[in-house]
């Protein structure tokens, strides 16, 4: 499949990559909590709680959520007219949310 590096296509590709990564993280999180209750998976929990992993997770999570909101606006509004501008608005909001998140970690 060919990708052109335009805002929409790049946003779409990033949505898939962050979605896959966050999805795997959340499945492992369920497994880790299962281990908390019944024993085991301590190494997994340590990995999921590692600062480097959480820092990446929050970036992916914030991106996926805000680009998801953008997609909703594009789908249910006149998105074709302003989807690029909206992308950068969302990234601006995301940047602020991310900084706040990191300081709260």
């Amino acid at each position: 499949m060919l990708y052109r590096w335009q805002t929409g296509a790049t946003a779409w590709l990033l949505h898939r990559i962050t979605g896959a990564a966050v999805g795997i993280y959340l499945l492992l999180h369920i497994l880790g909590q299962f281990g908390m209750k019944y024993g085991g998976f301590e190494g997994l929990r340590n990995f999921l709680n590692a600062k480097a992993v959480v820092v990446i997770l929050m970036a992916f999570l914030i991106y996926h959520t805000l680009n998801g909101v953008r997609e909703l606006i594009v789908d249910f509004g006149n998105g074709a007219l302003y989807h690029k501008k909206l992308f950068w608005v969302m990234m601006g909001i995301g940047g602020i949310v991310y900084v706040v998140t990191l300081t709260a970690l």
Partner: protein
């Protein structure tokens, strides 16, 4: 080829991927704020939290596995691998649903 292992209900899945996404974002905000960022002390053994977390698990599994299936539809061309991954998605969904239930339901007891 277009409809292999498809439920033929694409529009519903398209809409529910959006509805589940909105609900996930709301619950995620509550979950992260209360538990991981410790804004307030919470009793995860309370019925409210159990219902919230059970809903969270079900919505997430749907959203994750439907997302996974979209990737399969786009990137996997080989028929038997598609069928296998379709089965895998169901197995993962059922197994993680059970893991979630047996973890959340007895919480705090």
């Amino acid at each position: 080829m277009a409809y292999q292992t498809s439920s033929g209900n694409g529009a519903f899945h398209w809409l529910f991927q959006r509805i589940s996404g909105i609900l996930i974002a709301i619950i995620l905000f509550i979950h992260l704020g209360a538990i991981h960022f410790g804004i307030s002390t919470v009793d995860l053994g309370s019925p409210t939290w159990k219902v919230l977390h059970l809903a969270f698990v079900v919505l997430l599994l749907y959203h994750i596995l439907m997302g996974f299936w979209l990737l399969v539809e786009d990137y996997v061309r080989t028929h038997w691998i598609r069928i296998s991954l379709y089965g895998l998605a169901w197995v993962v969904g059922l197994v993680f649903f059970i893991l979630g239930v047996v973890t959340i339901v007895p919480f705090g007891t």
